[in-house]
């Protein structure tokens, strides 16, 4: 009886969800890294890398997690694939709580959720050939099925990402940065995942190569119905690739909305400051848009400010900001939650035509 039940839910997990249904739900995800000190290495504090983060990803869509260094976007991604164990909170993949899974079931699930990293130099083993790199996940999951079929599948994956299968015997150092990222994509695709976590996949690349990889990710999503969680600091790339965007600051999501809500109608002061700082590639717009210059630097996540974490750099901050944590709720009925006591839309990217 119980075996059939398990088998059934296993089936469900690997079956493709129809486009638009929720496949990943993150609830109150929290990750604190202990700081140890003193003679007995007791815990003396914690780096609150991610604090009470909730969001969902639907099948076939791209959700962007954006923010500056140290905002917790990569930690969030790593918790989802359980490269890090969350301190608190739940992660549901198609309704199954990943935290409650045995390591055996978790391993099964790893097929469905893949991750791809930023640095194409550090994320590929330099000692094994590309065939082996892409074939490795297949072998681990018993899908290599003999030399002939296995090689065939690897060649197919290489063609899928625009690499020449004849180069499969080469080693990573023989490829350029952009080609290495393609190898990373092929490896992530090997097990037919439904969700890929892309952690700054194009940040290390030159602009012309960046565009090649962006187009590849776009095409693969369309062809394979993949969902992406796209972690990036480059807001222009996020605008191009993402359907919905979560903006993070110091471990918390401060604003979440569709791409157009976030870019054209930002309501959180941090989102507004971030957008106003992005250079616009049009010299005629120079000096024609408002600039919000933030004072100072991001505070330490081991000792974040009370109340709203952004208040120490915010021009709107008042007393309530120090005492009350602003909730991430829909404040204007736009279906676009914002975590600011004084949220108000302001189109910072729009240019004064005069």
């Amino acid at each position: 009886m119980s075996t059939t039940a398990t088998a059934a839910s296993e089936q469900d997990l690997h079956a493709r969800s129809p486009l638009g249904t929720e496949i990943l739900r993150v609830e109150s995800l929290t990750k604190h890294f202990p700081i140890r000190g003193g003679l007995f290495r007791r815990q003396v504090g914690a780096v609150q890398a991610v604090d009470d983060v909730s969001f969902a990803v639907r099948a076939g869509e791209t959700v962007g997690l954006v923010g500056e260094s140290g905002c917790g976007k990569s930690t969030t991604g790593r918790c989802i694939v359980r490269l890090l164990d969350p301190t608190d909170g739940q992660i549901y993949f198609k309704g199954v709580d990943l935290a409650g899974l045995t390591s055996r079931r978790m391993r099964e699930l790893r097929r469905e959720i893949q991750i791809m990293f930023q640095d194409p130099y550090a994320s590929l083993n330099p000692r094994i050939s590309v065939n082996e790199i892409i074939g490795e996940p297949l072998r681990i999951f018993g899908r290599y099925r003999g030399e002939h079929k296995g090689k065939e599948r690897v060649a197919e994956l290489m063609r899928l990402v625009g690499l020449n299968p004849e180069h499969g015997n080469r080693f990573p150092h023989e490829f350029s940065g952009g080609q290495r990222q393609r190898i990373g994509v092929a490896r992530a695709l090997a097990l037919d995942p439904q969700l890929i976590i892309l952690d700054e996949p194009v940040s290390a690349l030159d602009v012309s190569i960046q565009a090649q990889v962006i187009n590849l990710l776009d095409e693969l999503q369309e062809r394979l119905g993949l969902a992406y969680l796209f972690i990036a600091h480059d807001l222009s790339v996020v605008r191009h690739l993402c359907d919905r965007v979560a903006v993070m600051y110091l471990g918390k999501i401060v604003e979440f909305g569709t791409k157009h809500e976030i870019f054209d109608n930002p309501t959180h002061p941090y989102t507004q400051a971030l957008l106003s700082a992005v250079p616009i590639t049009d010299p005629r717009m120079r000096g024609k848009r408002e600039r919000i210059m933030l004072e100072g630097d991001v505070p330490s996540p081991s000792n974040p400010p009370s109340g709203c974490r952004f208040r120490t750099r915010c021009w709107k901050a008042e007393e309530i900001c120090a005492t009350e944590v602003p909730e991430l709720t829909d404040r204007f009925g736009h279906g676009h939650p914002s975590a600011c006591h004084f949220a108000e839309p302001r189109a910072v990217l729009r240019v004064d035509p005069s």
């Binding site: 960046q210 191009h240 700082a277 992005v278 990217l349 035509p353």
Partner: protein, 346 residues
Amino acid sequence: MTEPLLSIRDLVTEFATPDGVVHAVDGVSYDVYPGETLGVVGESGSGKSVTVMSILGLIPQPPGRVANGEVLLEGRDLLTLSEREMRLVRGKEIAMIFQDPMTSLNPVLTVGDQLSEAIVTHDADIGEDAARERVVGLLELVGVPNADDRFDQYPHEYSGGMRQRAMIAMAIANQPKVLIADEPTTALDVTIQAQVLEVLQKAQDETNAGTILITHDLGVIAEMADRVVVMYGGRVVESGTAEEIFHSPKHPYTLGLLSSLTRPNVDLERLEPIPGQPPSLINLPSGCSFHPRCHLGQGRAVCRSEVPPLLELGVGRRSACHFHEEMSQEVARVEQETGAHFDGEL
């Protein structure tokens, strides 16, 4: 136009490698005028950094060698100076801001001591108190808060943005005529980048230095540069004002960069990347080194056989493309394909 402050003429810098001699810079010429910002764009290996290292006499020798050309600073050829004479130029007449302030500041000296050193090196009589006063003034100018306390701190006590401010302060300490900033904000987050660019602008206004801003980030170029030089495979392929470069490019490589670009304020239908990889300098393609990746050339014979000369199309407007007259149709085609508007329609 006034006289250029710095003129680079036919500069050739080569490196001996096990696979043969590589021309990292191959016949580069450009001018820098007082008070202007000249943006130099290009991808990894385009020779943009090697050019300025050659200007400063910082090419490691061997394997490197400046094989040809002139670098005229107000008429004086820097390439003919001795190392001792060059030391008086560096940091005094030409100052440099590097990409990574963590590795370019000495971790065991306080920031204040390092800035003072920059001043004392070129003005031995100044005295400790006066030097400190100047340094504190400089730190205030670049927006380091509590400059007097910060003077005695070490680089690791500064954040990335603050370190880059300190680097800018050091660079302008001796009122240089030419300021070179090599990827000054690449390692920084966007809100910090905006702060640092503002400080850089202020530092330039203060000193009226001619600035060479090297970056691969076209957004930074669009925000900062008055004129732009585009480099590819060790050569200049296009130059013009920032508006000309962004709105009416005359070289297919420049257009390729623009059509590869995602934009924060525009929804594009698709990107049109430049196919293939940047060329290996060991094995530069024949003729126009961009031809294997070029959409405009379509493999025409002249592109494969002849190196296109850098033609003067107007005052300060240059293009090294055999078919630069066809660029307006090419721009129109790319606009159609990507949904971008290069004519500057808002």
